[in-house]
Each structure stands twice: as C-alpha cells, then as structure tokens.
Symmetry: C2
Subunit: 169 residues, 2 copies
C-alpha cells in the first residue's frame, strides 16, 4: 500500500520516538488518517502512536481539538492559525508528548488564488516546547500526491521537532 | 496507494451515503486510520466523512469513545464488546449518522490461541438503528493484508447496515 521508502522513514521515526520514550498524536484534515495509517503499518507502533484525530469537518476540529471557531472564521480551516491550534489541541487532548497536524487543499476542487490546490499547513507541538509551523505548496501534484507528500512532510517535521525541543531530548 | 478496486468500492459507498444525506464516523484500532484515509482519498468525501478516531491505545478508546474500562478489562480490546462500544461511542461523540469500528490483531505479534493473529472484530452503529457486529479471522495474511481486508470488510459492513437500518432509509 505505502511504498518502501515511506515505510522505511516511518520505521526510523518510530524507532527514534521509542528510544526517547515519546508518544505521538496526529491531527489530520486533508491527509484524512494516512499519517496514522502509515505509522501503524509498522509492527510494534502501538508503543509510540497514542491516538489520532481525523478532523475532516470544521465541527470535528472545534469539538475534538478545541480549535476556536473564531480561528476558522477569521483565517479559514486551511491556515497557519488552524494548523497550530490543531497540533496544540491534539497534544492537550491526548497522552502524547508530541503532536503533528495537517490541514490543506488536496484538490482537485476547493482552490482559490489565495489558497491554491496543493497548499498545506503543518504544525508540530510538543510538551514543554514551542509549537512550530511549516507551509507548503505542492505543485504538479494530484490529490493522492498532495496527500502523500503531506504525510512525508509530517514525518520530517516530527523528526526536526525532536531535534529542537530540548525538553524532549 | 490504495488499489483501484478498493478505491472504486469507497467511491460507491460515498455516493450511497451522499444520496441518503448521511454522515459517517470511523473508530479504528488495528486499521490505524486507513478506513478514513481510503474514503478521504476520494474527492468530495468531506460531505460524508464527518470525523475519525484512531484509538490505538486503550486510554484513547476510553477517553475519546467512552469505552468502559471494564469492557477492556473483562473482554480485552480485541473483542465484540469493545468493537460495539467503539462504534456506539463514535456515533455518540460525532455528528455522524452511522459509525463503523475495527479492533483486531494485525500481527505479526500479539496473537494467542484464543485470539490469533488475523482476528478482527467490526461493529456498525447507526442513529435509531441496531448496533451490529461481525467477526473475522483473516488467515494466511500478513499485517498489511489483515489491515486491508479489515478496511474492505468495513466498507461492506457500512453498506449492509444501510440496508437493514430502516431509520436511515
């Protein structure tokens, strides 16, 4: 299902989190569960993957992750502010030490000049650390590719969050 | 990522739910987000997929879906009782009309004579309908196959739940 390279990266990330005794939560909108789905493809992932939120509707973002409705009204669900609130909400409403969020426009519909198809915001929050944000525009990518590139970007982000968050060291 | 046959089935199920104006929630343990990940691979799924819970840890099952801790203690997380409680919890803690749950032993470890690798319990709950249950033992299947067959079984289950639940008609 997932290609070997992505599975290998997932395996390495899980090993890294396991060595540090850290648990992970995911908050996924446009990836719809694929980050959690990839990580749990690896046997033994249950000691690292604590839970995942697939918050496809705005109501889910608000009720499960306590994303303020005002953030969605003001900035939209695909925004830095929403991504940050999703990651912080996932961290708070789980037993995880680190949480990653993804919200974006996978297409083919739903794009606009300001927010084109391929725009994806990710955020990573960790206990005692800063909440960080990354913004991507994946071009020449269909829906499936936007989602898979977002998954890969999430793995990278978690790994670098581990490097910068001294409290997680 | 997902094969064409599975994507086609997902597309058909989404069209069916859409025609009836129904929203879906998922509660996934051993499939780890793949049901939601598959359904959201289809463009326009956001009007059907309301939210998903990836409840990999027992704590997540208890806190997000209100599975009674006693159910897990008495029957284990891979049991009919837990699957039913997961589906009913997902229905209750969402704005969905129908919810499907999956809990199983994807392997390669974690099996026992009573609960072998490949054992998967699914449950489907719907507003105003009965909560139903199905039990599978997927044999000669590796971890990835157990998970994919569980995903396919979940799609079938939702479709037949629509057929039996008159209140959803």
């Amino acid at each position: 299902m997932f290609d070997a390279a992505l599975l290998h990266r997932a395996e390495q990330l899980l090993a890294l989190l396991r060595r540090r005794g850290l648990k992970l939560a995911t908050a996924e909108s446009c990836t719809g569960g694929l980050i959690a789905g990839l990580l749990t493809e690896i046997a033994g992932s249950s000691d690292v993957v604590e839970r995942g939120f697939v918050v496809y509707s705005n109501e889910a973002k608000i009720s499960l992750l306590r994303v303020p409705a005002s953030v969605i009204e003001l900035h939209g669900a695909v925004s830095e502010a929403c991504a940050r609130a999703m990651a912080e909400g996932a961290l708070k409403h789980s037993n995880a030490d680190i949480a990653v969020s993804v919200t974006g426009i996978a297409g083919p519909g739903g794009g606009s000049p300001e927010k084109p198809v391929g725009l994806v915001h990710l955020s990573c929050a960790s206990t005692g650390g800063e909440t960080n944000h990354r913004r991507f525009i994946f071009v020449k990518a269909d829906r499936s590719e936007v989602r898979l590139r977002s998954v890969a970007a999430a793995l990278d982000f978690i790994e670098s969050q581990l490097g910068t968050a001294s409290r997680l060291a």
